[in-house]
């Protein structure tokens, strides 16, 4: 039986797809059979971030509507073993995504994989609710910024009431906080919410902290999930996040202000 993890946030642009791609890749690199599913019907982007956009033939909705088999729609990742991508449809309307259809797909995948990562669309509508409905665990991606934190709290409310686990009175969806785009310099100067502020307000367990990093844009430009860039801070931070998801106790990194030395100030900070 696979563990189903939804990557969600409410607010758009906080790094859901970047995180879903990095975490799914990280899980696969650690030897877990993993599939990552794009639930953003009409605005798919996971294929771009994973670098497989030119290999998309069939998608999730084709599978649900019986126009293609699951194995025809699944794309094997070229870089990472044990990793598959199930893209979203770019054209169909969102209503084609039915709860029964999604349940069937997840059940079938569940037989073969260890982890199913669901990349949720932004918002709290149909697609977002379906992405979280069958989840065992949820990663709530949050920027240290007011609108993102508020939306994350809304999502936590939905996770507690609008999921299968909630409706069946089963043990609740396990919630993890993932803070992204954290800038320790701005935190130190008092212009960004601290890690502890966000934790205190949302009151859920922190699974990872990803610093604001040039490596993220570089990774998406190239279509290579940032976790492959293990020289970068963001790559290492995602690898740590994956370890914590797997139950390991890893100390937090990249949350403290690094004072730049004279040399790096003169010659630039080098690669981040």
């Amino acid at each position: 039986m696979a563990k189903i993890i939804v990557v969600t946030s409410g607010k758009g642009g906080v790094g859901k797809t970047t995180s879903a791609a990095a975490i799914a890749t990280g899980l696969a690199l650690r030897g877990n059979k993993t599939v990552v599913i794009d639930f953003d019907v009409g605005l798919r982007n996971l294929d771009l971030i994973m670098g497989c956009e030119r290999r998309v033939v069939y998608d999730l909705i084709n599978v649900i509507q019986g126009e293609a088999g699951l194995n025809q729609a699944l794309i094997r990742d070229k870089r990472t073993e044990n990793l598959h991508i199930l893209p979203a449809s770019q054209t169909r309307d969102k209503e084609a995504l039915t709860p029964e259809g999604v349940e069937k797909v997840l059940e079938t995948l569940s037989q073969e994989y260890d982890f199913i990562v669901c990349d949720s669309p932004a918002g709290i509508e149909h697609g977002a609710q379906l992405a979280m409905y069958f989840a065992d665990e949820a990663i709530v991606v949050t920027n240290p910024e007011v609108s993102s934190v508020r939306d994350s709290d809304r999502i936590l409310g939905l996770l507690a009431s609008k999921t299968r686990r909630a409706e069946r009175s089963e043990p609740p969806v396990k919630e993890h906080l993932l803070i992204t785009r954290y800038d320790p310099n701005r935190v130190t100067s008092g212009d960004m919410l601290t890690l502890d502020d966000v934790r205190e307000i949302l009151a859920i367990n922190l699974v990872g902290l990803i610093p604001e990093s040039e490596a993220v844009l570089r990774a998406s430009n190239q279509g290579v999930p940032v976790v492959h860039d293990m020289d970068s801070d963001a790559g290492q931070a995602y690898a740590d996040t994956v370890s914590r998801l797997l139950g390991e106790d890893v100390p937090l990194r990249f949350h403290e202000y690094q004072k730049k030395g004279l040399l790096s100030r003169m010659f630039g900070g080098g690669r981040r």
Binding site: R150, D153, G157, V187, G190, D191, L193, D197, I201
Partner: protein
């Protein structure tokens, strides 16, 4: 003089303002989390009925639903204006 005041004024860090605002809005959001969907409508209509008899402000009415194991209590608080 103005400049001196400006310089003397301790600038509140924006992050702490953000935190205070969030704590309030999140607490409010959580209060509404478990309430049934009809509550805002009920509140609005109750206010309309009350207003037919007494002029009260929008924020003079406070309605909440508390649930115990086997019963729910609907609590309605209306602050009436003092008689002139």
């Amino acid at each position: 003089m103005k400049l001196l005041e400006f310089l003397k004024r301790e600038r509140k860090k924006s992050a702490s303002v953000a935190k205070e605002r969030l704590q309030i809005i999140v607490a409010h959001q959580r209060g509404q989390r478990d309430q049934p969907d009809y509550m805002p409508m009920l509140e609005k209509e109750l206010l309309e009925v009350i207003r037919r008899y007494v002029q009260v402000d929008q924020d003079a009415i406070n309605i909440s639903l508390d649930r115990d194991n086997d019963c729910s209590v609907l609590e309605l608080n209306v602050t009436l204006p003092r008689d002139e």
